[in-house]
């Protein structure tokens, strides 16, 4: 983002790998990371360690799995298209010509905010540099106290008279700032992590939460508007006594069905997120009950300003934070070689552990039982840390979560097959309120309208892991 003059000279701590211009394992079907000839300076997005895809030379980024974003876009386009083609002419003739204007405005608003939510950096924290990581390791080792080994990797801070535990992220090699969570689907730590939304194909975090909120609110207006217009159209036709033989009727009925089921779920989701905004909570915190005082302690949300209006303003109208990952900056020539080789190291180790944990998911995909969604894939998070000192010492906290993940991933895999049989009608607020296992850091998106596709996306992700190896 900024052209930094102060390039750190730092040959000691970085490993000196053999400069082989091998492409990274992430170089999959997307041709957006071409093998640059070594002489040309590469941009930083080429060596970005998370599971994201970049387009337009780093200007646009999405999660590796697009989830059901094409479906979301398709549904919105098809429904709106049918509305404009078949309902608007009738309604303009019989009611008012404002209807297509309002509809058009809402449609454009919805599509723009959807694309912004999907393509914006949600607030990804860049991983710690090797120097930083070894400095933190030194500090952890120095405090060394505990009765069991290894020492728990948490740090306590006091925020507005509330004790908050900061967890150490083994992937990103740093203590996560408050409200930050590691998304295993994208393999990034995201600030003010809300959830990973498969409908938009991206995480929702600090930087794109306002886009997401605007998207769901405007989408609820759009679906309610279309639903109202379609109902009026059908009512007027029936009243007119002309009979219902028109060809447009089946298509109008399709719109009606889609809108009817969407309205409830989207309205519910908007209402839920309005509550979150007003109390300055994230979906992640709400699910885990971080500030609800369930454990009997006197805990309050330390980030809330105790005033609904101020909370709303600070979440939605606060200053827009910058992207912390410099996607389009150029790599210094010496670093591009080192990071390329280092990149090869990490994914190999990561994928190996994923084989152990996620092969169950592939078998599970072949079964057809439907189970409620449990968790997103937290397996990769539970992988043993690949820290530079070579210690392979996961904390007990992480190893239990990995063990737990094995079981749940297996059972979850079964939920993913009947995707095609699930329609949008199957979503319910019941599914939305299913609570993920609170011991995991990575939340699902239980508030997303359809629990089915979201677990499908995760189940497919399990399959894709095993396909990679």
């Amino acid at each position: 983002m900024k052209n930094c003059e102060y390039q750190q000279i730092d040959p000691r701590t970085l490993p000196t790998p053999t400069p082989t211009p091998t492409p990274t394992p992430h170089h999959g079907p997307d041709g957006d990371r071409p093998e640059e000839p070594r002489g040309r300076p590469r941009r930083k997005w080429h060596v970005f360690p998370g599971k994201n895809r970049f387009y337009c030379d780093g200007r646009i980024m999405v999660a590796r799995q697009s989830g059901v974003l094409p479906l979301t876009l398709g549904l919105i386009l098809v429904t709106s298209g049918l509305f404009f083609i078949f309902d608007c002419p009738f309604l303009v003739k019989h009611l008012t010509s404002c209807i297509p204007v309002i509809g058009g405005f809402l449609f454009v608003f919805v599509v723009i905010t959807l694309l912004q939510t999907s393509f914006t950096d949600p607030g990804i924290l860049p991983r710690a540099t090797p120097d930083e990581a070894s400095d933190i390791e030194k500090q952890i080792d120095n405090t060394g106290n505990t009765s069991y080994r290894p020492p728990p990797r948490t740090k306590e801070v006091v925020i507005n008279q509330q004790v908050v535990k900061l967890k150490y992220c083994f992937t990103c090699k740093m203590f996560r700032p408050p409200r930050t969570s590691h998304c295993s689907l994208c393999d990034n730590c995201v600030e003010r992590f809300d959830h990973h939304c498969p409908w938009v194909g991206n995480c929702v975090g600090k930087r794109n939460y306002r886009f997401f909120y605007t998207f769901i609110v405007s989408l609820s207006f759009l679906t309610a508007f279309i639903f109202g217009c379609v109902t009026t159209h059908l009512a007027l036709r029936a009243q007119g006594g002309k009979g219902l033989v028109s060809l447009t009727r089946p298509l109008t009925a399709v719109e009606l069905v889609i809108c009817f089921f969407s309205v409830w779920s989207i309205l519910g989701l908007s209402g839920f997120h309005t509550y979150l905004v007003a109390s300055n909570l994230t979906t992640n915190e709400d699910i885990k009950g971080s500030w609800s005082g369930k454990s009997g302690e006197d805990v309050t949300n330390p980030y809330s300003q105790r005033n609904i209006f101020v909370n709303c303003c600070s979440v939605l109208c606060g200053p827009m934070p910058p992207s912390l990952i410099d996607r389009r900056g150029f790599l210094p020539a010496d670093e591009s070689v080192q990071t390329a080789a280092a990149d090869i190291e990490l994914p190999t180790l990561a994928t190996k552990s994923e084989i152990n944990v996620c092969t169950q998911g592939t078998k599970g995909l072949l079964e057809s039982a439907t189970l409620p969604p449990l968790l997103s894939t937290s397996c990769p998070q539970g992988k043993p840390p690949t820290d530079p000192t070579g210690n392979f010492d996961p904390s007990p906290e992480i190893s239990t979560s990995c063990g737990g993940a094995r079981h749940t991933h297996h059972s979850r895999g079964r939920a993913s097959t009947p995707r095609h049989s699930k329609t949008r009608s199957k979503k319910s607020k019941r599914a939305a309120l299913q609570i993920a296992n609170p011991s995991f850091d990575v939340p699902v998106s239980p508030t997303s309208p359809d629990a089915g596709p979201s677990s499908t996306a995760r189940g497919h992700e399990g399959a894709s892991f095993s396909h990679l190896h």
């Binding site: 102060y6 860049p126 925020i159 408050p178 600030e191 980030y303 939605l316 606060g318 827009m320 910058p322």
Partner: protein, 143 residues
């Protein structure tokens, strides 16, 4: 031998002796603030007061960037009404302040830290997580 050392000279001549990382201070929430505790490694290189003054100034700049005031609300509301497309053409308030921070750090490095064999890294290069202070070996400096 020169009194003022350009950063290029320092890079070419001096080797990195150590790096000190100043972590974030979360006592006021998630706003960007850095701990002002003076690290012991820098005791021989720079005066405590000078260093703390630099840090205080940086913290003030970041507080200004994240301030919830009428300007940020107007910017936010305007952006919402235009479906946030203004962010594509306009530089946000935060980005403007970050430019100020970069300029301030460069100035401090040139005037104060480079002559003492130190180098401050702009926190934005480290994801606003730490302020990295590089301590160079003392052999090429004449003080």
């Amino acid at each position: 031998m020169a009194e003022t050392h350009s950063l290029q000279d320092m890079r070419q001549q001096a080797a990195v002796a150590a790096k000190v990382f100043l972590q974030r201070d979360y006592t006021n929430g998630t706003v960007c603030q850095f701990q002002t505790k003076f690290p012991s490694e820098l005791e021989t290189r720079i005066e405590k007061q000078q260093f703390e003054e630099t840090l205080r100034m940086l913290n003030n700049l970041y507080a200004e960037a994240e301030k919830l005031g009428s300007q940020s609300y107007i910017e936010g509301c305007l952006a919402c009404l235009t479906a946030y497309t203004v962010f594509l053409c306009m530089e946000t308030h935060y980005e403007k302040v970050l430019k100020k921070v970069a300029k301030y750090i460069q100035e401090q490095n040139d005037k104060i830290y480079a002559p003492r064999g130190l180098l401050l890294t702009d926190p934005i290069e480290r994801g606003l997580r730490v302020i990295e202070v590089t301590i160079f070996e003392d052999r090429s400096l004449t003080r």
